[in-house]
Amino acid sequence: MSSGKHLNGIHVNHCKNTAGQAIIPMSLPEKVYIPMSQHIGAPCQPVVAVGDHVKVGQKIGDSEAFVCAPIHSSVSGDVTAINKAMSQMGRVDTIIEIVPDGKQEVAETVVPPVITDKASFIKAVRESGVVGLGGATFPMSVKFNVKPPAKVDTFIVNGAECEPYITVDHQNMLTHAQEIVDGVKAVLKWLEIERAFIGIETNKPDAIKLFNDLLKDEKNISVAELRQVYPQGAERVIIYETTGRHLIAGKLPADVGCIVSNVTSVLKMQQFLATGMPLVTKAMTVDGNAIAKPQNVEVPIGTPLCDVIEFCGGTKAEIRKMILGGPMMGRAIPKDEYGVMKGNSAILCFDETAGTQLPETACISCGRCVRGCPMNLMPTKLAKAWERQDIDTLREYDVTTCMECGCCSYSCPARKQLSFEIKLAKTWVMGEDRKAAEKAKAEAEAAKAKAEAEAAAKEGGDK
């Protein structure tokens, strides 16, 4: 366990208004819009054509790429269009439109996978289409496919759910605890990992108790109680808080012997192993002061966001800001006609009072951002260096270590958008580093070619 020390963080108002509410399955929408890029990595290519009839769980997009997860139809119905259009990520994506026939027939391919070894397990996880459902959307099978010399000894199930408002992971833990434990056991067995922690923030005592009871006879799986300090659910933070290991920028969790998976990802994976039904629905918390009836809903992937809001009783105030994910790291989107994606864990809608940006004032060097940074960075220093385009200081103060958790911006009394500025600075520095590396590589190659040419000329001269 950890050494008793903790990483910095901040206290955020939990606003878990929907805690304890069952996840209600949503009714079928008139149309679903399923984008082909719902994960980090290569986008999928459609494997269906316009006019095809598809069934629930049928694969509709896949790719040969290593970092990728296939995409399945969430409804049975007819493919009416395959368009290039803007997805909720703000990028042009291939989007498959399907009109449900209402029958929700399950595809013939939906049968429990046969698993005999590690390779078949990883293949099954890939076929499940599960990605990091906490929002990072990293394909689960890629995470499991650890390349030597990295050796994993700890599997960490992330049930921290440290973002305010969101309660679906909590609810899934309460209602599917046994399946989650089964999923963990499968991972430990097939990947030959010694131990597992289920990390849960102490603001969910019922979930902690439930798992403690379930795991009382398990030697190598235990609950890790996490403090109520944001961001306990950030990968690097939960690794440190459970194992005491520091994951530095540019390294993967496997490099420090860990694999971290969101608790709902583990659940969806286990459901695929048991039934063969891939990831086609996503539990979401719908909340915010503009929502009439905040609640948790299980939404078919591709359902337009506006339909989800309508299902939750619509609005009680004019929405000025809509956030996909939590308020700390979620994305504000310009409109709500996009289809729900795998990584969406919440739709938060706010009215004028909460939606507008507060005016920025001068930095008073109070140090709140420094005390709040889990990575021990100096956000104020980085933001000032970015404002004067000082790349040397940005490098010296480790800008690329930032994980954009937003603690600095949250705690800033001058309302400076530190996290945003640091993100821009990070992108800039990483781009410059890449350019420098490419240049060095090209120069090395040129020098090598020149040396070879000279050697050849010399040899020629000798003759």
């Binding site: 955020v12 506006c306 006609e337 008073i364």
Partner: protein
Amino acid sequence: MSTKHTNLIVSSAPHVNNPVDTKSIMRDVVIALCPALLVAIYVFGARALILTAVCVAACVIFEGGTRKLLNRPQTIGDWSAVVTGVILAFNLPVTMPIWMAIIGCFVAIVIVKQLFGGLGENFANPAIVGRIVLFVGFATPMTNWAVTSRMSSVIRDAAGDAVTGATPLGLLAAGKAVPSNMDMFLGLINGSMGEISALALLIGGCYLIWRKVITPEIPVAMLASIAVMALLMHQDPVFHIFAGGAMLGSIFMATDYVTSPITSKGKIIFGIGCGVLTMLIRVFGSYPEGVSFAILLMNILTPHIDRWTRTHINGVDRKAVKK
């Protein structure tokens, strides 16, 4: 089809903020200064209130006026000028002529703060430089320490029939008897208006720590190093932390965010520096009091302390990286 929502506000995460902002911080500082103001009014009379009000008004007007002249966004709403006004007033003797106090406010707000870019950009604490300029420019009125009937008998006896008399530090420098530590703690002594009562200032300090406006590092390091230095010089440590501007300086002036280091380690170095310099000036310098000079000198060192005490990311062996 469902109602669609378009033209929504798009901004970068996070979408929530801690309710604490610059204004609420400054307001907390003003609240924390109130107990000391009440003691000043009790000991010195109504003029303490008038002089404080004049300084606050002058600072706010200078702040607003300069921002307007410089065509910059208005900042009087952030309460920082109010804080400077109160603290500068607390650094003046109650008998200070009003026009001189206004000059101090001008120096603090216009020259030290606004000409360097306003709040956040000043390298020195405005109130401290304002006080030092007045101290050097108007030495006599700045050392005219009124004696009132509410003060310790030691102070009154030393003053004799005069309406002014030496402060405890002045008495100490002259080798005379000093008031009891209890009288010093309660503030029944003469001196600058706001510095006399250690008790009132401590109440304010505790309020600021409770409200998480300041962290204890600087006041504790500064007062502790004053006490240690006093012990080393065979003087009464309790007297020295209650005397002069030690309390006011350590709790309210050395902790000014802008001009003090950011990290805990930096704050401790800064506090120790302030304490040691204060005692060196008190004991060896030609002035009986050295808090403001000590803090000003450490203000100048702050950017360097910040660089020496920068934070480092977790999990990287820095020695190995350097090699």
